[in-house]
């Protein structure tokens, strides 16, 4: 008698059971594949939606015929011609104001053309169409525009242009840009990192290298982890109460002699964002410090190093790439946050670049939010363009983080 085979299926039974096992495996594999497909579809839809809005037909009329100002066709005007036209037709007050912002002679032909179209000819947008509509229903749109607005010019344009990046905010979508918002975002993120990186790294070093392991340390640790998940609007409330109101003398700059500002400055926003990303930076720095192997610390102690020498010469340099990677991820988090900025009081319409920590400011997400809530469709188009700008900024930052990590990754 052979007991070995008593409890296992044999022959046909075995084949049936094997087929059944493969069938279950196939079902699960299909489920996982569909999960992946759903994720890809969602991401593609998001990207498509953004790109769809940023390009397309626009139909506009000139309120004043360009021919009244010059005999040259609009798109053949030279810089000198434009200078003359602007000088002759703008009121002297308006002209001097522009001259004070930036001397007219130093402006580019494209800038001057924008001024000409914005101030003198005055474009009146009759309608905009998404990229898909423009490509698929081009003929219908042409017929429709020709019927409704016989004088209108219909052209396919990209709302995302180099000029879009370099011009400040304007009340006319056709001439609005994101320069003010980009500069505001950069100021805010810069101040946030300046504040959060040293404090976060310091806290991480203390927690990882000095703090005695005990109930107090684990409570602090748990709370830091929880803080990383607190809704950002709560940080906004904190920033409003502490930075905008309580510390107004500091954040408005009045204690440094700045008089024309209240607490709703880019400094308040930067500090609020700094607090918001602080847990992120601490956790990332702790992970980076933890990844430095103990054998390295022991080697340093073994040759008579003090704890601080060990940390300064060995732990920190080896943890630095990880700490930097964490900071970049924190920066991209801060760039995309909107809610705290609304609470802290970012300006929704501002065309003056921030030039210091006590400036009023706006930021990219605020600008996007503000444009999407406008009724006119051309504002939705520039909102889509601003989203593309923000996404490119974020992707660049994340790519930098990955490159840094790969470049400095060490094997011990």
């Amino acid at each position: 008698m052979n007991q070995r085979h008593d409890h296992f299926p044999e022959g046909a039974d075995f084949n049936a059971s094997l087929r059944n096992r493969y069938r279950v495996a196939t079902i699960w594999q299909t489920i996982f594949l569909s999960a992946l497909l759903i994720a890809i579809i969602a991401l593609t839809a998001l990207l498509y939606n953004v790109v769809d809005g940023a390009f397309g037909f626009i139909a506009y009329e000139y309120k004043d015929d360009p021919a009244e100002f010059t005999s040259t066709p609009v798109n053949e005007l030279t810089k000198d011609e434009l200078l003359v036209i602007l000088k002759e037709n703008l009121s002297s007050g308006a002209y001097n104001k522009l001259e004070n912002e930036q001397p007219m002679q130093e402006r580019s032909q494209a800038d001057l053309l924008t001024l000409f179209l914005e101030r003198l000819v005055r474009i009146d947008t009759k309608g905009t169409w998404s990229m898909t509509d423009s490509l698929l229903r081009g003929d219908e749109i042409r017929v429709e525009v020709a019927e409704k607005y016989p004088d209108a010019i219909l052209e396919f344009r990209s709302w995302l242009t180099p000029q879009f990046l370099t011009t400040p905010m304007s009340s006319k979508a056709e001439f609005a840009g994101v320069r003010t918002a980009i500069l505001g975002s950069l100021w805010m993120v810069g101040l946030a990192i300046l504040f959060a990186l040293p404090i976060g790294t310091g806290a991480a070093i203390y927690l990882q290298e000095y703090a005695p392991k005990g109930w107090l340390t684990s409570i602090i640790q748990t709370n830091i982890n929880n803080l990383a998940g607190v809704p950002s609007i709560v940080y906004g409330m904190l920033g409003l109460a502490v930075f905008v109101r309580t510390l107004e003398a500091f954040t408005s700059g009045s204690m440094f002699g700045v008089t024309d500002s209240n607490g709703r400055t880019v400094l308040s926003a930067g500090l609020t964002m700094g607090i918001l990303v602080l847990p992120l930076i601490i956790i990332n720095a702790q992970e980076a410090i933890k990844a430095v192997p103990d054998s390295l610390r022991q080697a340093a102690y073994g040759v008579g190093a003090t704890r601080w020498q060990t940390i300064w010469h060995h732990v920190l340099p080896n943890a630095l790439p990880g700490i930097l990677t964490g900071s970049i991820l924190a920066i991209s988090r801060a760039l995309g946050e909107t809610a705290p900025l609304i609470v802290v009081g970012a300006s929704t319409f501002i065309s003056i670049d921030p030039d210091g920590p006590f400036s009023k400011f706006t930021a990219l997400p605020i600008q996007i939010y503000q444009w999407t809530t406008r009724a006119q469709s051309e504002f939705h188009a520039i909102a889509a363009s601003a989203i593309i700008v923000l996404l490119i900024l974020l992707l660049t930052l994340n790519a930098t983080a990955i490159l840094l990590r790969n470049r400095y990754q060490r094997k011990y």
């Binding site: 390295l296 022991q298 073994g302 040759v303 008579g304 003090t306 010469h313």
Partner: protein
């Protein structure tokens, strides 16, 4: 003739505790100068714990503390007014796995000397230390290259050179050859014979042949019924391996146990 012998380091009733658990109990060892003393015993008997207590590396283990005395030139290394950093400056350590700094070969030697305030010519110190560790000829042309480019055996000799560079009185070695191949192991053992002309060496080893080959004195450790390790026999290596007094030592060195 001297009637009082001075030992390199001496322990009196030294015990090491982890919280309420006693890991090593009542060790009395008198370590001879310029000799190699091996600590042997089965796994988990506290050999490494004891060795690490000699330069207070156990201070970094949470809850770990020592009782009793550890005397270096008559001074108790565990007394309150002794700084552990000073202890480690005088008693160097080579670890089980080679752990050079992720820096250049030169910097691996120079760093320890520099942080300890070395004022002499660094180039000379680096060369001399590498020569003492029998590594100079192999690395003299690539001092600025990363220490990680070296083989395991070379890395371990670099770690020994790094220890020598701060001119300690005693060198502790925690199974220094267990991660190396037989040829590299042999080189480390030859190096130890050279080093004992100037230094006192304490080595923990799992390898009984190594203890028999390389050491002058051997301490045999074993755990008691409360799982605390202790030295059950300490004598010249020859005696331990040929005429052990303790039955447990005999069983262990002849391979009947452990």
């Amino acid at each position: 003739m001297q009637n009082t012998r001075t030992y390199a380091i001496e322990s009196n009733d030294l015990s090491i505790h982890y919280g309420t658990f006693t890991a090593v109990r009542g060790v009395n060892l008198k370590i001879e100068r310029q000799k190699i003393t091996a600590i042997i015993g089965p796994s988990g008997c506290g050999k490494s714990t004891l060795l690490r207590s000699f330069n207070r590396m156990n201070d970094f283990v949470p809850g770990c503390y020592a009782t009793g005395e550890l005397l270096l030139q008559g001074q108790n290394l565990y007394s309150k007014d002794i700084d552990p950093v000073e202890v480690r400056r005088k008693i160097g350590m080579v670890f089980q796995k080679p752990n050079p700094f992720p820096k250049s070969i030169y910097e691996n030697i120079a760093w320890g000397a520099r942080i300890n305030g070395f004022k002499g010519k660094m180039d000379d110190l680096v060369e001399q230390s590498l020569r003492s560790a029998a590594l100079w000829e192999e690395v003299k042309d690539k001092l600025q290259e990363s220490a990680y480019a070296l083989s395991g055996g070379q890395q371990q000799r670099l770690c020994i050179a790094r220890t020598i560079a701060i001119q300690p009185e005693i060198i502790l070695m925690d199974e220094p050859a267990s991660a190396l191949d037989p040829i590299s192991t042999l080189r480390i053992e030859e190096l130890m014979q050279e080093l004992k002309k100037n230094y006192t060496i304490l080595i923990v080893t799992h390898n009984m042949q190594q203890a028999a080959r390389a050491s002058d004195y051997t301490a045999m450790m074993m755990i008691d019924d409360q799982r605390a390790g202790g030295v059950i026999e300490f004598d010249e290596t020859k005696s331990i391996f040929t005429r052990p007094k303790d039955k447990r030592t005999e069983d262990y060195v002849t391979g009947r146990f452990g």
